[in-house]
Amino acid sequence: MAWSREEMAARAAKELKDGFYVNLGIGIPTLVSNFIPEGISVALQSENGMMGMGPFPYEGEEDPDLINAGKQTVTELPITSYFSSADSFAMIRGGHIDLSILGAMQVSQNGDLANWMIPGKMVKGMGGAMDLVAGVKKVVVVMEHEAKGESKLLKRCTLPLTGAGVVDMVITDLGVFEIDRSGKNPMKLIELAPDITEDELRSKTEADYVSAL
């Protein structure tokens, strides 16, 4: 049985380590904050200029000056600090964030990532995604394995890239893959969702990988 969105988020949460500073993208990655393991505490960065992002506010306590990168109202915590966009991306570009978890349209077996534009469609922009994948120490992609019956894990991305050779791990609804950014080792399957067979996975995956189950 394929993993649900919540199960994918929970699996991604296992990549968190105590004391990590983490940036979570929009969508399934946002759910990861609901699955932070017991005894582990992490600080969430919001690239619009906040470290130590708290949960959504109670109704009536929204502050228009306090939003996350998805423009949602959020709250602050005892550890919180604010800074400018230049300082925020200095933090990201400078390699200070431990982990970024984000969604994708396509990932290639060498870690290329496409998640910002589809030629011919109106493009909204890359926002901070290119900076995050280029700068953060470890990049984990969480996405559906297929879209409209087509594999999203490819030998080569067909969509314009967000970053080249930037992904360290891909968590789909069918399994978990590790990618060696240096390109020295092939992409590696390290986990399967329950009741998914290796044959089924391989048939739904265009990318080459080796099994390390």
Binding site: I67, G128, G163
Partner: protein, 248 residues
């Protein structure tokens, strides 16, 4: 040795913009989404009617709000932004070829603005290498650097505007500014990167009332300041959690 700073204070947005606006100029506008934007100054630009503007701003406003107003009136010729999602008029004009658009990765945009203000004509970044953003740009490697060896970097250039519009929480008559929470965002860099920086502030104080260690933007960067205590603050994406059930 004080500065005769009260002359920096203008009575309203219109007078703060007087003598500055002209067609085809480059304007930086602070804010992220609708957070920390200069609603009042943008409204005055709409009323002034200048056209052919190049606007450097992370986003393009929302239909009818902030930069959305200048799109409605077709005053903007070109946007330099990282994300323009929430704007139907934008999409229409762009798809009709009436609006030019230059996408920058958000961090590259922020740094290009900081660089312009800091007298740095260009810098290198790994962001965008291997993507369309890197196409046609100088590429450099730094094999001698223990920190930066082993990757490729593209050159990005500093930005400068004729006018920067910034929103601050507190300001004083010298032009010193303090921002609040995530309304800080692009405002501090933009304040440094324009020939004339105009600030709209929620609270205006005489010089000496702001704690010097807490000032985010020194007054040297701010040429004009206008007190806008009643400027609307909008929430783009109101998200809440339920109140906890009281325990008995």
């Amino acid at each position: 040795m004080g500065s005769p700073s009260s002359r920096k204070v203008y009575k309203d947005a219109k007078s703060a913009l007087a003598g500055i606006l002209k067609d085809d100029m480059v304007i930086m506008a602070g804010g992220f989404g609708l957070c920390g934007v200069t609603e009042t100054l943008v409204e005055a630009i709409r009323e002034a009617g200048v056209k052919g503007l190049t606007v450097i701003s992370n986003n393009a406003g929302v239909d009818g709000i902030h930069l959305g107003k200048l799109l409605e009136t077709r005053q903007i010729r070109k946007m330099i932004s990282s994300y323009v999602g929430e704007n139907k008029i934008f999409a229409q004009q762009y798809l009709a070829g009436e609006l030019e658009l230059e996408f920058n990765p958000q961090g590259t945009l922020a740094e290009r603005i900081r660089a312009g203000g800091a007298g740095i004509p260009a810098f290198y970044t790994a962001t965008g290498y291997g993507t369309v953003i890197g196409e046609g740009k100088d590429v450099k490697e730094f094999p001698g650097s223990p920190r930066f060896a082993g990757r490729k970097y593209i050159m990005e250039t500093g930005l400068w505007a004729d006018v920067a519009l910034v929103h601050a929480w507190k300001g004083d008559t010298e032009g010193n500014l303090i921002y609040r929470k995530t309304a800080r965002n692009f405002n501090p860099m933009m304040a440094t990167a324009a020939t004339v920086t105009i600030a709209e502030v929620e609270h205006l104080f005489p010089a000496g009332e702001l704690e010097p260690d807490q000032i985010h933007t020194p007054g040297i960067y701010v040429k004009r300041i206008v007190h806008t205590p009643d400027a609307p603050k909008r929430i783009e994406n109101r998200t809440t959690r339920p109140h906890p059930t009281p325990s008995h």
